[in-house]
Symmetry: C2
Subunit: 338 residues, 2 copies
């Protein structure tokens, strides 16, 4: 089979790879119905996050189970499944507490930008649907695997409640699906910080009530003005830079909540500043597995359509163009068809 491998900054090759096999008795092999490129893939693509050597890319996936190891009990060949970018046994004390992305047996998935994928801890990582889903729902089901699950965590970790005023910092795919998630959780006022017309439009479709185009101190001042000098109840930080993190903390009311769901790059927080901001801070790798059953259900019931974030669809062999389009911000998110 052929899959995407990153060799260095902006060098994605679509090249011959071994078809994955069952390595451990708890593995499953799936054939991918669709895969995609993550905003987080752009960090190594841009050379900001170094790689040790040629790296098979991709960690968002859904598809049909081809084969399972002999200890796999709940996942069966022929099922349609969605999984998370972090494997989980879903039985340890951390998983039972809902933090499957910090499972004691966690492995980070990679190599999903390919036709076939090996998934460790299949029983704890994958969620099957009852029937094979209709084709038109595949993009939205794929979205639950990471980008929606992460946006959902952003809203949950920031304690979004009915009636709240919330701010989303970042108009990437995760930020946009954080808007959808906050809407779904009943937020009354959803302020999306975005300067790109196409993204503003999608933010509004997903439920944003206001758009703020200013950034940094000006953005903070604008939010303060919009919230009568108090700040927002919850702010969802969906970028991972120093500027976005500061913006998020400063937009939040004392006693309010800040979540952060993208790996911070070069971010340091001053303890005293954070102390007097009086905010709650929570984030980390999204425990997507916790949310998957609910998110899959919302998609299958037609209540949400997160697949709209895919504004570019390419055959898998054009994966390099998918990266370029996202890097140059020509595309919000690229779906790849194996």
């Amino acid at each position: 089979m052929q899959g995407a491998v990153l060799y260095g900054p902006r060098e994605v090759r679509f090249e011959q790879q071994e078809v994955p096999k069952i390595n451990k008795a708890t593995d499953a092999i799936i054939s991918l119905s669709a895969t995609c490129i993550c905003g987080s893939d752009l960090w190594p693509y841009r050379g900001i996050q170094p790689i040790a050597g040629p790296t098979p890319m991709g960690h968002e996936y859904c598809g049909i189970v081809e084969e399972v190891g002999r200890e796999v009990r709940n996942i069966k060949p022929g099922q349609f499944v969605v999984g998370s970018f972090a494997t989980s046994d879903n039985t340890c004390v951390i998983c039972r507490d809902g933090y499957q992305s910090s499972c004691v047996q966690r492995e980070w998935m990679s190599g999903a930008q390919a036709p076939f994928l090996r998934v460790p801890f299949a029983d704890g990582t994958l969620v099957p649907t009852k029937d094979l889903p209709p084709k038109e729902l595949i993009p939205s089901l794929l979205a639950t695997s990471d980008v929606l699950g992460t946006g959902w965590f952003a809203a949950d970790a920031a304690n979004v409640k009915p009636g709240n005023t919330i701010v989303v910092v970042g108009d990437g795919a995760v930020g946009l699906l954080s808007v959808l998630s906050a809407k779904q959780m009943g937020a009354e006022r959803i302020i999306a910080m975005s300067r790109h017309a196409s993204r503003q439009k999608l933010a509004r479709e997903f439920g944003a009530t206001d758009i703020v185009t200013e950034r940094g101190d000006e953005g903070v001042a604008r939010i303060e003005e919009m919230t009568k000098g108090i700040g927002a109840d919850s702010v969802l930080e969906c970028v991972g830079t120093q500027e976005s993190m500061m913006q998020a903390i400063q937009c939040t009311r004392p006693g309010g909540y800040v979540s952060y769901v993208g790996v911070p790059h070069g971010v340091t927080l001053d303890g005293e500043h954070l102390f007097f901001s009086h905010v709650h801070l929570h984030g980390g790798p999204a425990p997507v597995r916790r949310y998957l059953p609910e998110l899959i259900k919302l998609v299958l019931n037609g209540e949400i359509n997160p697949g709209k974030v895919f504004d570019l669809v390419l055959p898998l062999n054009e994966v390099a163009e998918g990266y370029r389009a996202m890097d140059e911000r020509r595309a919000i998110k690229t779906l790849l068809r194996p």
Copy 2:
């Protein structure tokens, strides 16, 4: 009257001051039944936190109302009252949300190490008791004003729940009363990190089930061992240094809670490290006013005895010795009798 004024590192003078008067119609003047020295007073005392000039010290207080401004409605002369180190109108949206120490009209109290004190926003800051309390309860009532209120916030902000395993980092008066607070909230296992025999003893009296004497990486390893490699559910950071903050975060299980209640001095948090720790982080100046009614009730009912943290009682005019004793760790906390 004579009160304590800090002139520079380790230079506390007990000197003549004007008796405070009503400045604003919302003020009250109280005569202090007792006052004390706070762990946070040691930062400027040690020269770590610079002062702009001679600074009247003290922000923990309880006493009898002498006089009130003409707009004060609920507080009356002759009442016994306790107040917080942060004034609050107790009506703004932030106060109503329970974050009175970030009230839009907040002022930081000072000058309480004196016989009389002016309290701004008396109606929103002070909590009166129904009757004059018995003398022997004065130390415990004084403790509610800051040190217990802050320890209580540490436990509340760290989401202490019945059955939890919690760790308290810091064996100062706040740390010790965090132990008491966690016990009161039903924590099952309370691990106090302390290397001082007298403080360990008090920690046990307040409800600690285990004592860990190791610090830094060794302390973290010990907690990991005691929690089957998972970490504690909640960790209460009651020091405010880089080492104590790192120790707290590293002792916490993924998805667990870290609170921090002492002003951080020279603390910086690495965003990526915090992200993968997966903890909830919350802290800031304790909203003592939120807890005062409940804490006063617990003291008056004899359910808690936080006054035990005062292991040195001096007449107010010996305030300088009170500072020295705490600086040299000869005393946990000094109560001063005006």
